[in-house]
Symmetry: C2
Subunit: 540 residues, 2 copies
């Protein structure tokens, strides 16, 4: 009933040439000269890039805790390991790393190679009062992998990257059992020979893991319908300090509250996800992608709403506002740009695309001439820019430019007001903090019948040495504005530690009681990712 | 941003002529003569129907608890109220009611008219150590509304049928705020003037409520995609003894584990759902329905799998095996019957139906001649029979015929074996218990890319006076077989008390710890629906 998969020699993307301080691969970072050139596009940016410090010269805090002999081979206290596991990849993480501030470094980096190792490490940590931070590939932009409490005897970053295999494939049911440490490219490489794909492509795809996606309820490839990884989960295995939680492989169930839904979004606070049966797709054979221009951004939003409520379920439905479209180079005259994509493994998609374009035209949209069923230039240009963005963000950080991205979701009825008010109010804050209006752009990354997920990018020149403080101030104001408009503090970036204030206000209090009680039941020693979602408790 | 809805005079379907002992409306129950005629179709059935007792002549247990003066106007201890709230509508409920066994009757039936009433009743009950059973319209077939413990000072059935209004409509976001006690027809009647519909049509539609659907994760109209009510929820209000839990209205979110998903499926054990913002549909303008015949049931299953994995998302995709199709009168020569339906509010559906039929033909299916885009006779015949079934079940119960329906879900790879083994093994049990092979039929009610939801019906002649014991034995064997095949004990009938043994085995133990902890946090006095999902705890 299930095939064993072919051997998979080496996990692409997990190699040692990953940046310890910034995004992704070392060799894709912008050079000093490229940083300087980029900085010139932002009036008020620094003249020269912040240097990237040599990690071997940086001061790391003393190692407070050593593993027992039985676990010693799984742990490392090497400076590069500790430094690269100190932070996620938020702007404030990058700046602090560039500043050489590694005070938050974990004492040890653990690399379990089996689920048994995960169990043993948790058992030891619970006894020893050591905090454990589950770590996939460290792409968190919300402080999700950085320990900020002093309540524990030490901190271990548990890097799951060695658990990177597709273990089993059920072709008939179109599902695979996949280890949580698998990175996007490695996971897809192992599925490809079977003609299958998970098709979950977050922006962090190359540098994030299945376990991370599950723990944070990541948003992926699909702009409609299967937007969050949640719906692609058939069952999960989670190692909690109170035992292993394995749910039944089921296509659907009405048996009590869903066990998986408690662990989806638990961000490493309730257990360590070690593997999951994931629902797969056949590789699409029919694709079409079209770019539509709109003179009026609100007409464009109405078009997107019509699409989202049409039941046509495009795989891609990405709206770029005029600023965002200009920055990405897909519109030059202040238009808003809608990128529509449809795909199918089975049937031609021309009819569906025609229906989508009817809706777009009904709202004043002008499809670009290349409606040929081949991905057009606008969509391609956008995709390249999209994957390049985190590297540009790092380059801007080195030029002391403050950049922040945050995403949200709200109902359609509230969307126009949120879009206008947020841009206006936040521009005021940016002006106050940085002395310039800066740039605030917006795109819709995912859309639902009842509302969109707007994604905002803020860019403004910072003052060298004050970048983090400025970022914090802008971030906090943005969260406040979202909350005032009934919009969520996060659609797919998770809560971590950075979104806690907004999350705590938006989370219903009885649910908070239930979550804390569940935490105490599953992690009585309070060792798992303390401070995320729930206040850290004194170690028992 | 949101319209107030038009006044809604009287909730259809909630009138007093509801059966106190059996399904639905009194005037739709079969007459004695009809019962007898029906019984003749089942060799071995009784000759005359069990009489329906006059409720006024039945012995009810003494009332152990009286409400305080402030709540007296909300409560009733009238015999008819107590009798009609004693049981749900499982076969064993109907038989026990016909036997005049009302030992489990609640002491009081409470009918809150406002959310404040719900809060006040829970406050009083927690102080007084009185169990509270949230009650929508009592259609549970799993013992979900019947108190079976003696741990409390008394039992109140909290009937939410007075909270039956659509309170607010957000047309732009296509959502409505609806009170939990609204019955299906009343809810749709209030949405219809706005051109909107929830389009959640479980078999119990006329006699079940929004709150009941949410609390039990009900399965509804859609055979694919939006199968469970879960995905139609935008936000919920739940009164827990620890406070009111109100989630934010959001189209999507990645902020921690979903609060709503803890209460969805909680079956009244964590709180009383009072209202929800529900995602609505526009009324479909384009519809097509086709019946396809298959000579081989396994080929039919393969066709259904191809449909479920095609991304075509038919609204209806109901497979009847030869026995089921024969019983429903839609096939006469041992064929399996697949009823396919597509619908759209916006675009013609002929293309999609043609693609579905291509898949069906590829697997040997023969569409019936009426592929005209008009609901064909097979589908209509089936729908009428479907809504009539619970009344027939009651009539068979009166003829001492044991009937049981149970539904499950499993992966496609396991489906053929489950289908064959369950029918064979359960036939053996039925033979042992009833002395005849009986009839065991199967249909797929909902299908997913990774597996179907098979629904089984068992019919066999029982022995008068032993019907419940025989039913229990067959039910318990069925649960065992499902468990052995990795299939869930329930796809959309919930757990209640009857499915507890199987549920407890299938629920991951760490999740059970978390759920019990959440229960203690939200319902510290242990008054809410004790015995459902979680063992009742001694009252504090």
């Amino acid at each position: 009933m299930a095939d064993s998969t072919t051997p998979y020699p080496s996990p692409p993307g997990s190699s040692a040439d990953r940046s310890w301080w910034g995004w992704g691969a070392v060799d894709k970072a912008l050079s000093d000269a490229e940083c300087a050139a980029l900085g010139q596009l932002v009036p008020g940016a620094a003249d020269t890039p912040l240097p990237v410090p040599d990690v071997s010269g940086l001061a790391l805090p003393e190692v407070r805790v050593e593993p027992p002999h039985s676990l010693a081979s799984l742990m490392s206290a090497e400076p590069l390991d500790r430094a690269s596991h100190t932070y996620g990849k938020a702007y404030r993480d990058v700046i602090r790393a560039l500043d050489g501030d590694l005070a938050a470094a974990p004492d040890q980096v653990a690399r379990p190679r089996t689920e048994r190792h995960v169990v043993d490490i948790l058992d030891w940590a619970a006894d020893a009062g050591v905090a454990v931070i589950p770590y996939g590939a460290g792409s968190s932009v919300v402080g999700g992998v950085e320990c900020r409490t002093d309540l524990h005897r030490g901190v271990v970053s548990m890097d799951l990257s060695a658990l990177d295999r597709v273990l089993e494939i059920d072709r008939v049911s179109r599902a695979a059992r996949i280890q949580a440490g698998a990175l996007g490219p490695g996971l897809e490489a192992q599925l490809r020979p079977h003609g299958l794909t998970l098709r979950h492509f977050p922006q962090s795809f190359e540098f994030s893991t299945l376990g991370g996606w599950l723990a944070t309820r990541a948003g992926g490839h699909y702009a409609t319908l299967y937007t969050h990884i949640d719906d692609l989960v058939e069952s999960m295995r989670v190692v909690t300090p109170a035992g292993v939680n394995e749910s039944l492989r089921l296509p659907g169930s009405g048996a009590g509250p869903s066990p998986d839904r408690l662990f989806l979004g638990s961000e490493g606070t309730l257990g360590v996800i070690t593997e999951a049966w994931m629902r797969l797709q056949e590789r699409p054979r029919h694709k079409a992608s079209v770019t539509v221009l709109f003179d009026d951004v609100h007409a464009a939003m109405d078009a997107v709403r019509a699409v989202a409520q049409s039941g046509l379920h495009p795989a891609n439905c990405r709206l770029l506002d005029p600023g965002e479209a200009g920055l990405a180079g897909v519109a030059r005259n202040g238009e808003s740009v809608l990128v529509l994509g449809v795909e199918s493994a089975h049937f031609p998609v021309d009819g569906r695309m025609a229906e989508l374009l009817t809706l777009a035209r009904d709202h004043g949209g002008s499809p670009t001439p290349t409606e040929t069923g081949i991905a057009d230039t606008g969509a391609d240009t956008w995709r390249t820019a999209f994957l390049r963005m985190p590297y540009l963000r790092d380059a801007l950080a080195r030029m002391s430019v403050v950049t922040e991205t945050f995403e949200t979701a709200c109902t359609w009825a509230r969307t126009p007001e949120l879009y206008e008010n947020l841009r206006r109010q936040l521009a005021g804050v940016v002006k106050e903090v940085t002395g310039t209006a800066g740039t605030i752009n917006c795109r819709f990354t995912h859309v639902y019948p009842d509302g969109p997920a707007p994604y905002f990018t803020v860019i403004a020149p910072g003052r060298r040495g004050s970048e983090v403080a400025m970022w914090d101030e802008i971030k906090s104001a943005a969260m406040e504005i979202l909350h005032d408009h009934g919009a969520t503090v996060t659609h797919h970036h998770a809560v971590g530690r950075d979104h806690r204030p907004g999350y705590d206000r938006q989370r219903p209090e009885p649910f908070a009681l239930a979550l804390r009680a569940a935490k105490r039941a599953l992690d009585p020693a309070g060792i798992l990712n303390p401070g995320v979602l729930i206040d850290p408790a004194p170690v028992g």
